[in-house]
């Protein structure tokens, strides 16, 4: 369980995180979503006690990070896979971490095995590919068998196989009852990974809800209808107060109506239907609409996309 209350971080005049309050529940993967520069990493550093909040606080199971006894046993984190001395072997890297929190040496071999790095454990970490570094970082996070796990953009730059592995790994950790917080700037990725979403933009909380709720609330649902009597059906739907748009191929896009309602209306007046399919608006579009005003670095494309 992670609780942030009024968390604020200022760098001079820039406000990186602005009065942010949210909770992360155990047993679920929670996505921490926001455009680049929204303050996700800063927030994660504050959760870990690396950065000092200007105001507010964040508690892990009711305690600030600095009060945790041997904290790697409670919180595991992967903020940056490259935070390893390049000339140190993967095993030595995990060894000193384990030692610092009184974890036995055999635990190092266990986590190496879990992430599949046993064979390269003695090689210098500087020669690792991004995927391997990411696995080493995850091994470090898992060392203390922690109840709370934080991952900052864990799939960035990974190949599809690596992305799938991480996604399943995180879901497995949550299924064991752990609290898992994963940041990302990709809603489509989070929609597949996370059950809950904390969405921020420019350091402010935009929404906290379940992923399904967020997706339903923020995407426009339409129904695509094809019929030989499109004109007649269209007129009837407009009469009922729905918005109807005729597309170039002669099909209708109806918004504000459920497919059930359209089917009933068509059947009631004997209109033949060739297609009746609910459409879901793109997640990216919804995300852009929500966070559009809070993106720190606007690109031309973002402006025209709105």
């Amino acid at each position: 369980m992670i609780e942030a209350v009024g968390l604020t971080k200022r760098y001079g005049k820039t406000v990186a995180v602005d009065n942010l309050s949210f909770t992360v529940a155990p047993g679920r993967v929670t996505g921490f979503l926001g455009p680049n520069g929204a303050g996700k990493s800063t927030t994660m550093r504050m959760i870990l006690g690396l950065d000092r909040p200007t105001a507010g606080q964040v508690l892990i199971d009711g305690k600030p990070y600095a009060r945790l006894d041997r904290p790697l046993r409670t919180v595991g984190a992967l903020l940056d896979a490259k935070w390893v001395h390049p000339n140190r072997s993967a095993r030595a890297h995990l060894q000193w971490l384990a030692k610092s929190n009184g974890l036995p040496d055999r635990r190092v071999d266990e986590v190496l095995d879990m992430v599949g790095l046993t064979k390269v454990a003695k090689r210098r970490a500087g020669g690792f590919s991004l995927g391997m570094s990411q696995r080493l970082g995850i091994a470090g996070a898992l060392l203390g068998d922690p109840k709370v796990l934080l991952f900052d953009e864990p799939v960035n730059g990974l190949d599809p196989e690596g992305i799938l592995w991480i996604r399943q790994f995180m879901q497995g950790l949550a299924a064991e009852g752990r609290t898992v917080l994963v940041s990302s700037h990709l809603l489509s990725e989070m929609a597949l990974t996370a059950q809950d979403l904390v969405v921020i933009g420019r350091g402010k909380l935009i929404s906290q809800s379940s992923t399904t709720e967020f997706v339903e609330r923020s995407t426009e649902n339409t129904v695509r209808v094809r019929s030989p009597h499109a004109d007649k059906l269209g007129a009837m739907l407009v009469d009922k107060g729905f918005t109807v748009r005729e597309d170039s191929d002669g099909s209708l896009t109806v918004s504000g109506a459920l497919s059930d309602e359209i089917g009933d209306i068509a059947a009631g007046s004997g209109v033949v239907l060739h297609e009746l399919s609910p459409q879901r608006g793109s997640l990216e579009q919804a995300f852009m609409q929500l966070t559009g005003d809070s993106v720190e670095y606007h690109a031309e494309l973002a402006e025209t996309g709105k």
Binding site: R45, G49, D51, R52, L68, V75, V84, L97, K99, S100
Partner: protein, 252 residues
């Protein structure tokens, strides 16, 4: 104790500390041997360590690297995640680095002295038969240890390897000797500068037997040799303590 083991693993699982230690011993012993071969007359014990400062610079670079590489590669974050009070891992690092530097200093000093006994033309003055003789040799270990502490403090404050190393080397090699060139007050300031005080501790007040009057290495300062060491140690400790305060307050 576990934190000492952690810092030991960190230091010995990379290569640069090994190279630095070898270089520090090699430089001191090697240059000491050149002195021994060219010494006219009976060589005094002090003569075997006149070149201690080359080893000292290398040891200080090693100490600075012990902390700046942690910042360079982000492992300092993992360190503070593992031990969030921040002070105890920094103290453990200081203890390990100081012990190691002290041992390097002792090995360099006694190595140089031992080699000189073998190769010097006249080694009759090399018996360790006075407190001053012992101070010349053991002092190298003590100064290396305190110099390492000072360098660690500078490294923790500056965080960048290049910055920390330049500050340490430029100060110790150039600034302290140039201060003496300031008209009128230069000499008065110079005799209170820490590395010259450390030099007085190691090389100052030798036994008069082996060295003709006025022929010893130039030493400055009004304090006794041990007083000079106390002064050097106090400055090193002060810089280190300031670095602890900075590390504790700053975002990692």
């Amino acid at each position: 104790m576990t934190l000492l083991a952690v810092e030991r693993i960190k230091l010995f699982s990379t290569r640069s500390p090994w190279w630095c230690m070898l270089l520090a011993v090699g430089l001191t012993v090697g240059l000491g041997a050149i002195f021994a071969l060219n010494w006219g007359g009976p060589m005094p014990v002090m003569g075997t360590v006149v070149v201690y400062n080359f080893g000292l610079y290398v040891v200080m670079v090693m100490a600075a690297l012990a902390v700046t590489t942690e910042y360079r590669f982000g492992t300092i974050k993992a360190t503070f995640q593992a031990v969030p009070d921040r002070i105890s891992p920094m103290i453990a690092k200081a203890v390990v680095v100081m012990l190691l530097s002290g041992v390097v200093g002792l090995v360099a000093a006694f190595g140089s002295w031992g080699l000189s006994r073998v190769i010097a033309d006249d080694s009759s003055g090399l018996a360790l038969d006075s407190a001053a003789d012992w101070r010349h040799l053991v002092g190298v270990g003590l100064v290396f240890a305190m110099g390492a502490l000072l360098a660690l403090g500078v490294g923790a404050m500056v965080r960048h390897t290049a910055g920390a190393v330049s500050i340490i080397l430029v100060y110790a090699l150039v600034v302290e000797s140039l201060v003496g060139l300031i008209p009128n007050i230069g000499d008065d300031i110079q005799k209170w500068l820490p590395f010259l005080m450390a030099q007085k501790f190691i090389l100052g007040d030798p036994d008069t037997g082996g060295i003709p009057a006025g022929e010893g290495p130039p030493v400055v300062g009004d304090l006794s040799p041990w007083g000079s060491f106390g002064y050097f140690a106090a400055i090193a400790l002060a810089i280190y303590v300031i670095s602890l305060v900075v590390v504790k307050r700053r975002d990692a």
